[in-house]
Symmetry: C2
Subunit: 251 residues, 2 copies
């Protein structure tokens, strides 16, 4: 498993907060490091950024020809259905194995101050891991997240393949379901592009917004005219997201 | 031939200066648009950016297996040697055909105010086109440019293939030779990384710096410790370069 780490200059002088970025479908650890320009704001605020891959990889790892299943499409969950159950445990990998790798190998990483964010499928990952580990990831934000995977085609396909037909297990990986039972002290920030081609079919932010309102979860949702689902959109608002996490983790 | 254009918001209100970015070996029009974050500063200063490809492309276009010859390695010159002489005319393409395409299709492009910059092989292209068309490209800068191609392996290989054995023709595509005969009113900006693996073998900025000093060409040369030859380096100093061009083209 490969991953990317951005270490800010402030790490020379002492521990810095750790911010996890989870990528979307088809991406690897590289996209956000190469295309988002996150280094600028991370250097300014003194935040370490960790970018994991989006799935297990390799010739022995089960895969599918579709872009939205198998390698590159791990959905940040623990698969229970064959053939995926042997390798697909991205939630455990991020919250356990990779967390330990970071803690051991990057002494400047202050594991008591962690935030999480992501894009699309990675926005789903960030929201669900935040709700399931609210003490671990104290701040949370997302670009164009899949907020109700159990109700949209991407999620229905992946969940059916990885964890079987609809059951109570689906609720454990659906932010809209999770927020109804677990509200956090975080003020969640979500940005979405109004010209995003997946807005109405796959992202459906309105369902999540309503669930947050009803549950009393603090949420700042912004819809930006003219922007799509791409890294130009992410790069435009990356500074805002890193400032958001810096305020929560360093405040 | 594909190319990229970034149009700033100010183009809605009237003509804006045009800044040409020439990419390095193996790149296309896409790299700088996706990886450098230039949109931020271009939007701030109101500059249109044009990113051409680095060579002719296509199944009928001569190519070579090496990364530094043929497609992706046009060196911004007019080839006179077969098989390259049929398609490889990147200098004419940029200063003629593509310039006209931009002027006709982007009415906000103010062709009376043009600047040029680039990276590595594209830094060579920017410098040589600036010196050969000083009235056209009124401002010039470069990241990690090849400044003396006639004296380094990349240039020797490409020039021999494209324009034949060493001759007076080589001097027409070598910034260090050109500056000895043509000084411009531009204040040229060059940034190079001290950890650039090509610094001593292919870039050799000292030869060009000395030629500028002797010729009286204004040059601001900066060597940055810790930086390499990549787009992380370019992204770090992109704002400075666009501000440099904005000052010259809008001042």
């Amino acid at each position: 498993m490969r991953f990317a780490v951005y270490t800010p200059p402030q790490a020379k002088d002492g521990p810095v907060p750790v911010l996890w970025y989870l990528s979307g479908l088809t991406c690897t650890w590289a996209n956000v490091m190469e295309k988002s320009g996150l280094q600028r704001a991370a250097a300014q605020h003194g935040i370490m950024i960790i970018a994991p891959d989006t799935s297990p990889r390799g010739p022995d790892v089960p895969d599918d020809e579709a872009y939205d299943l198998g390698q590159g499409a791990g959905f940040y969950l623990t698969a229970t259905e064959p053939p995926w159950d042997t390798h697909y445990r991205m939630d455990q990998y991020i919250t356990g194995e990779l967390r330990d790798v970071i803690a051991v190998n990057f002494p400047a990483a202050d594991m008591a101050r962690q935030g999480i964010f992501g894009h699309s499928m990675g926005g789903h990952g960030a929201l669900t891991l935040h709700f399931k580990h609210p003490g671990t990831y104290q701040s949370c934000s997302a670009f164009s997240p899949i907020t109700s995977p159990a109700r949209v085609p991407w999620g229905e396909k992946a969940f059916t393949a990885y964890i079987g037909p609809p059951s109570i297990a689906w609720e454990q990986y659906d932010a809209t379901e999770l927020v109804q039972n677990t509200q956090t002290r975080a003020h969640i920030l979500i940005d979405t592009g109004k010209a995003d081609p997946f807005l109405e079919t796959q992202l459906k932010p309105d369902i999540f917004i309503e669930a947050c309102e009803q549950a009393g979860q603090a949420l700042d949702y912004r819809l930006h005219a003219g922007y799509g689902h791409d890294y130009y959109f992410i790069a435009t608002f990356m500074d805002d997201h890193i400032a958001h996490h810096a305020k929560a983790l360093k405040g």
